[in-house]
Symmetry: C2
Subunit: 536 residues, 2 copies
């Protein structure tokens, strides 16, 4: 048999069923009329977007999603459409995929493997399906899987045994570094084992803390990739099958780890800011590498005219910090303001003089400075309708080296899941495209500049040690004992772990940020604040 | 058969396996030696505390919890002990209960019904058990269930059919208004239906957003309650069984809805503050009813000497607000400070004059005032090691009538799940015990006092309308159409719902607070921030 299958790696909006339905119809029409496709495959839960979270508990939302299926089926009849939707049956809800053709429902499959780990909560909403579902088109039999299903050999094998010639899979698989390679590896293995060609369509776009990278692909029955869509971009493609085998089409090059992290961050910022209706973004520019990177990311995501920087020096700010911040803003063509924070810091110092009489200086005074900056930035954000981006990295979030309501104030935290060492790599990568971050910003020792001659290493282990310890403790659940046995300094390990343990309360109030590692903070890592557990 | 069963409604610390093990041993010894108990029943997941959340994904934590079982078995041998623990078997984890006696494991039961809704994520961690487990003591056969199990008729019936004479149930059932009555109703029905006496032991204490109210009880085979432990208090009790039937013991009176809400808030504050090692609490006292109630709760939880109030008037603060705030602080014997915020507000106004030139006054200027108060309070919190309590209620959290990093700044939000109307009821209830809140605070129209002559009803529907609409939309998932059909003004309904929909971003950064309703914010209601869903 011969046919053409379209892969709809096109963006959908979580919660907006009406808009998503319209887009399904328009995309399917285009695929039929312009690309001459016989079948179009959309990503998982197309109609609602993914993840719709507790919207799935609302009866009105589910009713609307189920009605949309009939409307779409009526609206376009000359191409077979495979879309995902939350199927309501009796008092159960299924994560389902439906084939619509000639105005009717041709097939309906219920996802069997419901992930309930990491960022996934599917068993909160869905009951599991219990059988495969095949449908016929142009003389070929198609099996259907949904995301997690295709990772399970048993489910892929069931489809083969039931008589599938080709396997279609709808996905909403979020990005983290190396995830694309992992997906392709698994799916190629499944194809080879069952000798089934597999069509893999993934969601594209940022949704709160997740970025869906697209990277849809087709693999033949020998387990070879014959088509790959772009990463981090919307793309409607068509792959031809001749005698049941997919024809070698275009294979988009894959980014390396650093550049794919960078693209994920850009897409995550772009979609959060635009989907939430902000006029643009502002951020505090300190002359340090973190804010320099966030500025570059924001400009690459939104355009220089939508981004505004604010320099807020204090008595502890070195001249080179201001110089470098101005260089960065100018290199990227970004409008900036300089507002020294001394008047507000002095006001608070005087207002608190009586209650603080007889006490010693401590982190309180540093926090006041950070919070004065927070008030200024939020005022500008409120006045202009621009979102405030925070500039804290994952190393800082891990150990609580940040001020709540100070530098942690903001609507979105783009590099919250980026370790300090990765910040440097991403800065260098960005400079390799065009020089926008002064070299000195990358080479000088990092400092919060909240006290005289302060550098981060006064309070924290050196970042090359710290980041490795954090990755082992947070992402790999290693114990202090394990980490020390791997050769790290016991003092550094104990310091890092005890800081992680006792700063959950800060992380709980931090803005959402973009997941780029196998375990980010937020929904991905759910720790109690009140806890007697001590990693050391 | 005759025997005595002890019910250990005693506090455990999430994550602190060593301390919990010691407490199990000490409590069991006391129950044997002083109360002559033959068997002692502890709450669900005793060894780890509940909910231990993602600590359950750590191998070291699970190993320690499993080892603890053997240590406890060795440490106390002359009384049968029923405790809960996360049982590791192969690559699976079970929510289990184990009977220890004479130094050995006598029985091991794996929870069958794993809740994965509301605040519960048990399927994230645990595999489900598949069978009942009976054990014999003093000639009687005991069945075991764990929390959700006992709500399922099928599981209770299985125990009866397998030959149980008495059913024991370990629980970690969090409080919300009416929950105790619901629990007792279900369990009495199960007892009547199966003619099994049931011993129900519940966890006690606050844990982040949850309060476990205790209220352990024993019901006889006629479905009558013959024993009830106190609500919201630690209590080790013993109930005698003669010829297999529990003897009528003490039945603690149950609070009414308002007083049990009040007790839940007091216990929630006490445990959050003390378990997290704070020296005490501070809060901003405005002269309004919300902060008046939080002050009273904090004093009842911690004692007046541990609580400090700060009055921070601005040019918009009425004289009666300051007078009333001082009256409250004095009535409760709380130390207070008065710090006018004008110097900081003026400093920010001047610092922002250039960038704000040509713009109109809007909510930005109101937010600056709230944020100056946030900076002051956080500075005092940091300097003294006292936690800052926020004073926002559920009505405000729902519609976003609060300033991020301003009045939302703080470590804990005691009345975050308390609607405005319930705030009034709780204030009146507290005054009925002793007059601590001036009558005028309860009768005057609520105002944020951030602009001249401002009252809440300028921006929001009247609270009697608003609270009813919010309860229907948030807790009952009704649609705007449903609510209007029930007789509410379409304009009020649309205003309220659209504010709820668009303020998820604020709630996401709010401090944790105490759940007292069937659906609180936080883990209980997981909505996307980026969302095309519109309730109207």
């Amino acid at each position: 048999m011969n046919l053409k299958i379209a892969l709809a790696q096109t963006p959908f909006i979580v919660g907006d069923i009406a808009a998503n339905s319209q887009q399904i119809i328009a995309t399917a029409q285009y695929a039929k009329q312009q690309l001459h496709a016989d079948l179009i495959v959309f990503p998982e839960l197309t109609v609602t977007g993914y993840p719709a979270e507790d919207l799935l508990l609302r009866t009105d939302f589910i009713t609307q999603a189920n009605n949309a299926i009939y409307e779409i089926a009526q609206a376009i009849t000359d191409i077979a459409i495979l879309i995902g939707y939350p199927e309501h049956d009796g008092n159960k809800l299924y994560n389902s995929a439906v084939v619509l053709h000639h105005g009717a429902i041709v097939a309906n499959y219920r996802k069997q493997a419901l992930p309930n780990y990491g960022v996934f909560d599917e068993q909160r909403y869905f009951a599991a399906g219990e059988q495969v579902c095949l449908f016929e088109l142009n003389g070929a039999w198609f099996g259907i899987t949904i995301c997690e299903d295709v990772w399970q050999t048993q489910i892929v094998t069931q489809n083969k045994q039931a008589g599938a010639d080709i396997l279609l899979t709808l996905n909403a698989s979020p990005f983290h570094a190396g995830k694309m390679q992992q997906r392709e590896h698994i799916v190629c293995e499944q194809a080879k084992m069952t000798q089934l060609p597999i069509v893999y369509v993934n969601q594209i776009g940022g949704q709160d803390e997740l970025v869906f990278d697209g990277s849809s692909f087709v693999v033949n029955q020998q387990g070879e990739i014959v088509f790959r869509a772009k990463e981090f971009a919307s793309q409607l493609s068509v792959v031809e099958f001749i005698d049941g085998a997919p024809v070698l089409t275009e294979i988009a090059p894959s980014y390396n780890e650093i550049s794919s992290d960078y693209q994920a961050l850009v897409l995550g910022i772009k979609d959060y800011v635009t989907k939430n209706g902000f006029q643009g973004a502002i951020l505090g520019l300190s002359g340090g590498v973190d804010s320099a990177l966030v500025l570059a990311l924001a400009v690459d995501a939104l355009g220089a005219d939508k981004v505004e920087a604010v320099l807020m020096p204090s008595r502890y700010t070195q001249a080179m910090s201001i110089e470098d911040a101005e260089l960065e803003a100018n290199a990227l063509g970004v409008n900036y303001h300089i507002i020294p924070i001394e008047p507000a810091v002095n006001a608070f110092t005087q207002m608190l003089a009586a209650v603080f009489a007889g006490t010693k200086k401590d982190a309180t005074e540093e926090n006041i400075q950070a919070r004065c900056r927070g008030v200024l930035l939020m005022a500008m954000s409120n006045k202009q309708g621009k979102i405030l981006l925070t500039t804290g990295n994952k190393s800082e979030m891990s150990v609580g080296y940040a001020t709540l309501y100070g530098d942690m104030a903001g609507g979105f935290a783009p590099i919250k899941d980026v370790s300090k060492l990765l910040v440097y790599k991403l800065a260098q990568y960005r400079n390799s495209l065009s020089a926008v971050i002064p070299e000195r910003v990358i080479t000088r020792p990092p400092s919060a500049e909240l006290a005289p001659d302060q550098v981060d290493e006064d309070s924290l282990p050196p970042y090359d040690q710290l980041d490795a310890i954090l990755e082992r403790y947070i992402e790999r659940d290693q114990t202090a004992q394990d980490i020390i046995a791997a050769g790290f300094s016991p003092a550094h390990v104990q310091r890092a772990i005890s800081l992680v343990d006792r700063n959950e309360y800060k992380r709980r109030q931090s803005p959402p940020g973009i997941k780029i590692t196998p375990r980010s903070f937020g929904r991905d890592r759910r720790y109690p604040i009140t806890s007697g557990y001590r990693g050391v």
